[in-house]
């Protein structure tokens, strides 16, 4: 079945081109290589394309004999760097070239569960199986430079043998179960045992199946051998899937019958048979090279860029940069102009800020001067004692029933007034008078202390017309400056202290 991609199969002896023409029909052109050099191969490829009449679209480049060496390697557990070095060295050894002249690509394959125990028993350790492809760097680079020069685009580069294994896996009804893949090539027949994405066994029968009838017998025998090997490794299990690629339609049925005897009970899918979806013959083999699957190894070779492309890229970059720069410059210029205008308008609105601040400072100084003068005036007045307040309070407190004889006012932090006087010689009456006087004085909001020293006869409870004098101390709170940190609730303060022995 033709795939979507054109196929260019390259070996050092021939070039094959497979594509679908404008009429929708698949075609194959094979051109022998006259000169076994990369240039000769490229020339043959151009002739093949010219002959097919296909337009030069990008194709899958399939490397065959002479360009790629495929191998399967078992390596013991190694450090990552060592694995790389060993794979590179083995690839160089396969091509018999110095490592510096060898390109390689390798993929680790998982050991199938069915074989894991037997492999470990035999080797005593867990080895890793590697799928590897090796190319000569010089000839590969030359080849792809020539192909590019001829205008042949590269979609991807694959190894023909591994790509066809993908087709085998893709054709399986049970891809994870073991299968035998038979690849009938123009120079050899490959017989592989594949489990999932792992090649567990492989053999090669040299010669062209179509030209040598003995190869058919050898193939049947090889399939039988591999079945026996698998039974031995898996303790009696059998391989129940066989896929054959590249069989010509006229011999496909015979081959199928022969393989049926080698793998009785197995499901046979032979390309070219009526009941197979796989296209037979060489064209089928070529289409199979376009298959994707677990055996993919990208063999794209890095070649120097075309100077024209580099220049074009540079030019594109410069153009993009310049275009973007011009556009952005315009955008920024417009935005900057708008912002500058907005800022200038705002600046204009605040031009008289300094004048306003100066005026505000002047007015503030004016108010502060007023407040300061008021404070000085009050402070100067507060230097004295509350003479008038205490004298008036003393006279009011004594009233008509007691008479003031002396009044002494001294500075005691606030003002301390010592008042002496005389009152009634009736002890009961005198006590009432003096109690009332003390209470009246104590009710004054600024008075903090009232001490009354009553006449001695009150203490004795006797009448004494000679000693009816008394003494009273009034203490008025100093005029302190208001301290907002100490605020007493009305009625909750300590109130004046009223002493004496009344």
């Amino acid at each position: 079945m033709p795939g979507p991609d054109s196929i260019l199969h390259l070996t050092t002896t021939s070039v094959e081109w497979a594509s679908v023409g404008p009429d929708g029909l698949p075609s194959r052109v094979q051109v022998p290589v006259r000169e076994e050099t990369p240039a000769g191969v490229a020339q043959a490829a151009r002739e093949a394309l010219d002959t097919s009449g296909a337009r030069r679209s990008a194709a899958v480049i399939v490397l065959g004999t002479g360009f790629v060496h495929e191998s399967v390697l078992d390596l013991p557990p190694l450090a990552r760097r060592e694995v790389r070095a060993v794979l590179h060295r083995k690839a160089a050894r396969n091509l018999e070239l110095p490592p510096a002249e060898v390109l390689f690509a390798s993929r680790a394959m998982e050991t199938p569960d069915a074989l894991a125990s037997s492999t470990e028993e035999r080797d005593g350790r867990t080895s890793t199986r590697w799928q590897s492809a090796a190319l000569s760097k010089r000839s590969s680079v030359e080849l792809f430079l020539e192909l590019r020069r001829l205008g042949i685009g590269v979609k991807r580069v694959v190894s023909g043998r591994f790509a066809r294994m993908n087709q085998v896996v893709g054709a399986l009804e049970k891809p994870d179960e073991p299968a035998i893949g038979v690849d009938l090539g123009p120079e050899s027949v490959y017989v592989d045992v594949i489990v999932g994405g792992t090649i567990v066994n492989q053999s090669r029968i040299a010669g062209n199946f179509a030209e040598l009838p003995s190869i058919g017998l050898a193939l049947v025998q090889e399939v039988r051998n591999l079945q026996g090997w698998w039974r031995k490794e898996t303790r009696g299990q059998s391989i129940e899937q066989v896929v054959v690629l590249g069989a010509e339609e006229d011999r496909a049925m015979l081959l199928r019958q022969a393989l049926g005897t080698a793998a009785p009970g197995a499901r046979l899918m032979v390309a070219g048979c009526d009941d197979s979806e796989l296209e037979g013959g060489r064209l089928g083999s070529l289409w199979a090279c376009g298959a994707r699957g677990p055996f993919d190894l990208d063999l794209s070779v890095r070649i120097p860029r075309r100077p024209t492309r580099v220049l074009a890229a540079l030019a594109a970059g410069v153009l993009m940069g310049l275009g973007g720069a011009v556009w952005l410059q315009g955008v920024f210029d417009e935005r900057l102009t708008e912002r500058r205008v907005e800022t200038a308008l705002l600046n204009e609105k605040s031009l008289d800020l300094i004048l306003l601040e100066e005026e505000q400072l002047r007015e503030q100084a004016r108010v502060e001067g007023f407040v300061r003068e008021m404070e000085r005036g009050f402070a100067a007045r507060d230097q004295g004692l509350p003479f008038e307040d205490l004298l008036s309070l003393s006279l009011e407190s004594l009233g008509r029933d007691a008479a003031l004889l002396s009044f002494n006012l001294v500075d005691d932090g606030g003002g301390r007034a010592t008042v002496t006087g005389v009152t009634s010689n009736d002890p009961q009456r005198a006590q009432q008078v003096l109690e009332r006087a003390a209470a009246h004085a104590g009710a004054h909001p600024d008075v903090t202390q009232v001490e009354m020293d009553p006449p001695s006869y009150i203490r004795a409870g006797e009448m004494d017309s000679q000693h009816h004098d008394f003494s009273m101390n009034l203490v008025m709170a100093p005029r302190i400056e208001e301290d907002e940190s100490v605020v007493e609730a009305p009625g909750e303060g300590p109130g004046p202290e009223v002493g004496g022995e009344l």
Binding site: R302, Q383, E388, L405
Partner: protein, 209 residues
């Protein structure tokens, strides 16, 4: 172990070089064009924010000043300051204070035994223009309470208010209408600030906090 090893390609940089190269050039060009304007825009942002704050400050100041002027603030403040200054009389000499004391006492019929000047105290109330001092004067005599209190009021009415620093009144019997009194008065008034450095040598004044 799942791994892939190869030496086929030069990595993503070489694979994508033809894309990365123009993109880098374009990016560098655009960066070159945009950096300076971006910085300019940033500077303009800051300038505009500052300008906005200045405009808001202007509006606040204009509003406050208009309100202050609207209630005749400057005139009232000047008037208040002048009135406040009048609460404290100007410079007064000891002779003047003696004369005022005598005048007030005579006017009220106070019987003064003596008027003796005392020390001068500098109050800690200096302003930029002047200072306030307290001149002490001790007044002794004999009078009734009402006239003693009226005497103090009259001193203030005569433009020389005095505070009482201490006082003593006494009489022998309640029958006497008059008291013997001793009042130590403090006349507070303004005085000029001394010239710079002149205060260092002064010894006849004390400072009261």
């Amino acid at each position: 172990m799942k791994a892939n090893y190869h030496n086929m390609r030069g990595g993503i940089l070489s694979r994508g070089a033809l894309l990365i190269l123009p993109a880098s050039l374009a990016a560098i060009s655009l960066a070159g064009v945009t950096i300076q304007p971006s910085m300019d825009l940033r500077a303009l942002d800051i300038e505009e924010r500052d300008a906005l704050q200045r405009v808001e400050r202007c509006e606040t100041l204009r509003h406050d000043l208009a309100s202050f002027h609207g209630v005749q603030g400057p005139r009232l403040a000047d008037l208040g300051q002048a009135l406040a200054r009048d609460l404290i009389p100007g410079d007064a000499t000891p002779l003047r204070l003696f004369a005022v004391t005598r005048l007030a006492a005579d006017g009220l019929g106070l019987d003064l035994d003596g008027v003796s000047p005392g020390s001068t105290t500098i109050l800690d109330l200096d302003s930029e223009l002047d200072r306030i001092v307290l001149d002490e004067t001790t007044v002794t005599g004999r009078s009734d309470v009402a006239r003693i209190l009226a005497f103090l009021h009259l001193l203030e009415d005569l433009g020389h208010p005095a505070v009482v620093l201490d006082a003593a009144l006494s009489r022998s019997t309640p029958d006497e209408s008059e008291f013997d009194f001793v009042l130590r008065l403090g006349f507070y008034h303004r005085t000029h600030l001394p010239p710079e450095g002149a205060e260092a040598g002064s010894t006849d004044m004390e400072t009261m906090p």
